[in-house]
């Protein structure tokens, strides 16, 4: 079986079998999004690995044609070294789609994707996979950012409400006056209103102790 696949990879005249794709990502949600994208695009041989311990054996078993790794994965130096040792992967791996394709490399790095490709694979077979990974990484980042923004907007509103309450109680002023005071202070100090609210909550907490 192993021999057959090797001959396939070598013999470009034959009908190409589908590529084996390995996704290494500690972020399980993002990995699932990429895997789904690849499967929707018709790639059946997709393997996802979250933990790099014992990865050499996994790679030897899977024999991936394309490996996609989160750029920020702290184990990339280890993984790259492993790819460059032909013993571990059996076949040499050339990293990134094509050394001459600078724009593809830029798009990948911008998105936070690093891709490794078995040497000798034709670029048109690999590019859609890498492009898919890039677009899914970008989509995930956008989603995570929006979620973060929504969360912090909510947090900020809670902070401002609490600070208003403190001012209303201690100064005996209305809610509108309390808000105006916070806003004025923020403008004078060139800071965000939520920061002023946070300082006030902290200070009032200290005074209460």
């Amino acid at each position: 079986m192993h021999c057959t696949s090797f001959v396939h990879a070598q013999n470009k005249g034959m009908l190409p079998r589908s590529l084996s794709v390995l996704v290494i990502d500690e972020n399980t949600v993002r990995a699932a999004i990429i895997e789904a994208g690849l499967r929707e695009a018709g790639h059946e041989r997709v393997t996802v690995v979250h933990d790099v311990n014992g990865i050499a054996q996994r790679i030897a078993a899977i024999e991936p044609d394309v490996i996609v790794i989160d750029l920020e994965n702290p184990n990339r130096d280890m993984l790259e070294n492993m790819f460059s040792l032909s013993r571990a992967v059996k076949r040499p791996i050339a990293m990134f789609v094509d050394q001459s394709d600078q724009s593809a490399i830029e798009a990948a790095v911008d998105a936070g994707v690093s891709a490794y490709v078995v040497d000798g694979l034709r670029q048109e077979r690999v590019k859609p996979i890498v492009d898919m990974a890039i677009s899914r990484f970008n989509a995930y980042s956008r989603m995570a950012r929006e979620l973060e923004e929504a969360k912090s907007a909510l947090e900020n509103r809670k902070l401002v409400d609490r600070a208003k309450g403190i001012l209303m109680r201690s100064k005996g002023i209305s809610e509108e006056e309390a808000y105006a005071l916070l806003r004025r202070t923020a403008m004078n100090q060139n800071r965000k209103i939520s920061e002023i609210a946070q300082s006030l909550i902290l200070a009032s907490g200290l005074l209460d102790e």
Binding site: L71, D77, E80, F96, Q99, E106, V109, S114
Partner: protein, 410 residues
Amino acid sequence: MADHHITAGFLPLMDSAILVIAREKGFAAQEGIALSLVRETSWASIRDRIAVGHFDVAHMLAPMPIAANLGLTPMRLELVAPLALGLGGNAVSVSNALWRAMEEAGATGPEAPAAVGAALRRVIGKRRSEGAERLRFGVVHPHSGHNFELCYWLAACGIQPGRDVEIAIVPPPLTADAIAAGRIDGFCVGEPWNSVAVAAGHARIATVKAAIWKSSPEKVLGVRAEWAQAHEDTLARLLRALYRAAEWCGEAENRGELAAILSGAAYLDLPARHVLGALEGRLETGGSIHRVDDFFLPVQKAATFPWQSHALWFYSQMVRWRQVAHSAENAERARRTFRPDIYRAALGPLGVTLPSANMKVEGALTGPTPVGSASGRLILGPDGFFDGAVFDPAELDAYIAAQSRSHSVA
């Protein structure tokens, strides 16, 4: 006020100090530079992000730009190293169990690499006769001072890397975990990661870079060659700022503040006590505190000068461990990666004491020695290898030939 914006990548290591201080103590701002620092998680990421222009310059393992220029990296990338970010700063640590075995076999302290290495060889021999598994040591990158000094030390002690000891790649912040989990038996890594593993009770410091090769190179400022060419003035300003920062780091009275700054959340994000000992050259090795001379030199002894002899030594080790084939052309490419010309042009106006040569014989100075310099007094050395070998860059071919002979005998 700042006319020049520079973004630099760095890894959380003690020797990012010069970059961090250039920003935090205003040396960059004084040169009109707004310096942004971005912490990264791997050298691969530093390489990728400098290649696509996210970073203009970066904290780099000294052999990294050489490897890039020799085409050993996965992407086409031409780099120059116009300044070194200090000398020394690494140590070799081993698991508590391995240290106990080594101690029984005669290992003493970190200042005696020959005795520690001989003990390790005896332990390896005993393990082999018992049919035990091969020991595994971690280094941070194949193209690193760590890999080369560890392998140099092992080989000089009669231990053949690969055959007698497996060498694995482990990212610095994960070394303590890896040794605690038994995935590795030892590692060579930059500070503070030895101290962190020792403090957690997982490891003992067996020896140090400063004992294997005194006053030896470690990190450099790596700069994209294209960027260096197009931004000559900005780069010169940055080098001046970094030199001033290195001087600040070299003042003994600043060490407490330096440790406090480095330990901050944006940088190493660790308690300052893990950083301070190494800065002072007082290492907690696990059991006792050892005073190590010149453990980390940020500025003294021309510590920021990009010696081309250092580049050639790294190249000789790349050849030795079969990362690249030796040719006159490759050697020349390696040598020219380090750029003392850029260093001199930038720092000349500061009246800094500059060495008059670009190369020196490594291992020639047995003690601190005044040497030829463009102005003032420059003290270099000691710069010897622990086994007494000498690297004369003018005799590169002979050095490389002798290395491969020593392997075929082993």
